[in-house]
């Protein structure tokens, strides 16, 4: 394993492997102490980036959305009595998405601007990492309004503290509750479940009951991991534990409560003690679920799962077992303190090899390119179009597993061609205002190879040289 001694090389690795790429001047700022430069970003007290100022809260967004849904339900009722036409209903449905679209645009644009302006892009990388770990996806309509709010309200303030606190904040955020359908999950022996069973004499197919989606994904994706040792019975029991975790201001009998905020609905909660992963949890209302989450956060399988994902993300597809073991031990020894884990990751010599081992994901490529040239399109549509074209719109992984994080998931032939096309467009826009050689030095420092250097010098135009820089193996990897 080559040991890195050169400070500028270390600075370039710090900015690119751990951050979203260097802006002009970043390498010089990092060079005196690259590891310290990274860790200072996560040790400083939390402050929301100014780019996020003025964004609507999930409470306001959801309250408006739920109100519109109720109105639509009323229209539907009217339609069934022959008052409104099918056309009215269709318009109402499309209208709901349209109502949320501006929130999505604002949140995604603010997120992008925060990254482009950030002096702490390691911290921004971590925000994206955890947001993807706790993924919600905007192909579910309601998430258009809530995905960014989940990140800003539940995740951003907690990524440097205890994982248990982050976990609880996410699982009680209305965005996650609604994405994974828990708001109407009803315990069969809860007040509401029993009342419904009495009212409908026959077996209550589909009337009211459990939904196991949130419980399963917490176990499989958020905490233990798929090989973490839980069974289908654990999933079902955990779903019963989580009954009542809901939001206020829904439809019908879920209408009460502060609209758009988390609400524990005791009348939905399956009563009684429950045994999960071999441990017994006494009946305690919402506290029963809190206790399970706390134990899950402290579980060794969770420590390994999180350590594996972090190492895969920042270092290499196939994580070194030594490093995963070490991070998992530190996680458990420090009560799940994430900054301790990041610190161990940053201090691992194996993470500082000069050869880059990960092909950038589209968002990483876009951020690093725009940061290198300090380009921030003002029009949000233009700002966001790049993510669309390169196949990674904000908060749209399509599933609760989030975006995949291996090279093979991103290095398709067509993906490369799209990056070339996009780089040409960006280079044409920048024109001759930047020299490729200077930009290469500022973004990659000593990581630029002689082969690439020569290709930049031989380019047919300044703009073509910029494209070559953006598409160089050194810039495409981190």
């Amino acid at each position: 394993m080559p040991v890195i001694v050169d400070a500028m090389t270390q600075a370039a690795i710090a900015a690119n492997r751990f951050g979203f790429g260097a802006r002009p001047g970043d390498l010089a700022a990092a060079a005196s102490d690259p590891r310290g430069w990274l860790l200072a970003q996560v040790r400083s007290p939390y402050q929301a980036p100014p780019e996020l100022d003025g964004l609507a809260s999930s409470k306001d967004i959801l309250a408006g959305y739920l109100r519109a849904r109720r109105e639509r339900a009323l229209e539907k009722k009217a339609a069934s009595q022959g008052v409104a036409s099918d056309q009215t209903l269709k318009l109402a449905l499309i209208g709901l998405g349209k109502q949320l679209q501006p929130y999505y645009m604002e949140q995604a644009a603010a997120r992008t601007r925060a990254v482009l302006a950030s002096d702490a892009s390691f911290r921004e990388r971590l925000v994206h990492f955890w947001s993807n770990h706790f993924a919600v996806s905007v192909d579910k309509q309601i998430c258009l309004g809530t995905a960014g709010a989940l990140e800003n309200e539940a995740i951003r303030p907690r990524i440097t503290g205890r994982f248990a606190d982050l976990l609880l904040a996410v699982e009680t955020h209305p965005a996650m509750i609604t994405y994974l359908d828990n708001q109407r999950s009803v315990g069969p022996h809860s007040d509401l479940g029993l009342r419904a069973a009495r009212r409908f004499a026959e077996p209550t197919a589909g009337k009211l009951g459990l939904n196991e989606n949130l419980a399963r994904e917490i176990l499989e994706l958020h905490t233990l991991g798929v090989d973490g040792g839980y069974s289908q019975a654990d999933v079902t029991t955990f779903a019963a534990v989580l009954t009542g975790w809901s939001i206020g201001g829904g439809e019908g009998r879920f209408a009460d409560g502060e609209p758009g905020t988390f609400q524990f609905r005791a009348n939905l909660h399956e009563p009684g003690a429950k045994t999960l992963l071999g441990r017994r949890y006494g009946e305690d209302g919402m506290a029963q679920g809190r206790a399970v989450l706390a134990d899950l956060a402290a579980h060794p399988a969770t420590a390994r799962h999180l350590a594996t994902k972090l190492v895969r993300h920042f270092v290499a597809d196939d994580p070194s077992a030594d490093l995963v073991d070490r991070l998992a031990r530190i996680y458990l020894a420090h009560d799940g303190n994430l900054t301790q884990v990041y610190s161990a990751l940053v201090h691992w010599d194996g993470a500082w090899q000069k050869d880059a081992r990960k092909f950038k994901q589209p968002h990483e490529f876009i951020y690093s390119a725009l940061r290198a040239f300090e380009v921030t399109p003002r029009d949000p549509k233009v700002l966001l179009s790049s993510f669309d074209v390169l196949g990674q719109r904000h908060w749209s992984p399509g599933s609760p597993a989030g975006w995949p994080d291996r090279e093979a998931d991103w290095d398709g032939a067509d993906a490369l061609m799209k990056r070339i096309e996009w780089s040409v467009a960006l280079s044409d826009h920048i024109g001759d205002s930047h020299s490729a050689r200077a930009a290469a030095g500022a973004a990659l420092g000593p990581l630029v190879t002689a082969h690439t250097q020569k290709a930049l010098e031989d380019a047919a135009s300044g703009s073509q040289a910029l494209t070559m820089l953006l598409m160089s193996p050194e810039f495409q990897r981190r």
Partner: protein, 434 residues
Amino acid sequence: MRNRRQFLAAGARLGIGALVAGALPGVTFAAAPGGRPFVVVILRGALDGLSAVPPYRDPDYATARGPIAIARPGDTHGALDLDGFFGLHPAMPLLQERYRAGELLIVHATASAYRDRSHFDGQNVLENGGDRPSGTASGWLNRALGALAGRGIDGLALGQNVPLILRGPVPVTSWAPSRLPEVEPELVTRLRDLYSHDAILSARLDEATQIEALADDEKPTSPAMSDANAAVSNGNVAMADGNAAMSASAPVGGAAAQPNAGGYQRLKLIAQTAGRMLAAPTGPRVAVFDATGWDTHAAEGAGEGQLAARLGGLDGVLDALRSGLGAEWSRTAVLVCTEFGRTVQVNGTRGTDHGTGAAAFVLGGAVRGGRVLADWPGLGERQRYEGRDLRATTDLRAVAKGLLRDHLGIGDSALNDVFPGSERVPATRDLVRA
């Protein structure tokens, strides 16, 4: 002056495989004469087979399904009858036409070797062709291409990247429509040189230029596609102008596989182009694409609603593939599959949770269709797998092996390498016409 791209396109049009092969270093499409098109469509998220292909005459169906049961044929929003026991969801009339034409075979109560309920592990097993989620880095379709070795690039993923099912040692490529201007051949040449020390990037670049040439030639000329191209081909969109067609303003999705208000409009265009590429003399032989959005935990709907909208979209996508293939449809087989099924019983939120036995579709002019292949286990509580799921009675690997053997001509012994650990799962016979 003709550039390389036009040159290649001309080659493809004239069917001069050797000319194309000579024009590019490394790789080329050159399907052997007589190679029959094969397409795999993966429905990610676990399609509810009991709604897509309702066993409406099963005595337990209507009770178990309650508010999401598909009504019987003849009733409002009732199933489209197939064989007096099974029906098709009413949102899929085009598939019913294929069934009647003898070109659609439905496999029901089927599953891969996977028996747990994680989407992501389930998809891994569906794609790696093994019996465990991890430990196999390549996909069964790539290994199948390996068994047909020596024909250049035969595998195409529709999308920017290659899904696991098609990844592996055999070179494959990927393609999705672009909104940005084409890249000058001169730049490609320079990049090829820039990548001369980088095995992966140089391979990807060659694969990309290959398929781009074919895509140029095989672009559909339907008004819809022309409009779509015109709307997005307007230069410098990445940065400078605020072209609204750049679709950051589109209501939902944006990835190729995500349904939109029109029901998979973009995926329809992709499927049609894929059909044209497969039909081209120098085109790929196998293609794969995804359709997402099947994870119906809540408000699934019955004859109308959320799932109905997706199924209607899928119906159109498969028909677009057929129309793109043109006359080649008669020699084509398409396998549409999902990672697992969903619970028999409707859940507490009028949806269904992760299950086991699923439905799969095998269609195409080469398919011996017009029938439902199912060793029906029944829906009663005791008949279910673990008391909750449709029991899987047909191994999906048997169906895939039958298609690879009888449609693509891969020998029995090679099939056991394509699906490791499947020695006791014999290939299903008579899926395709002789």
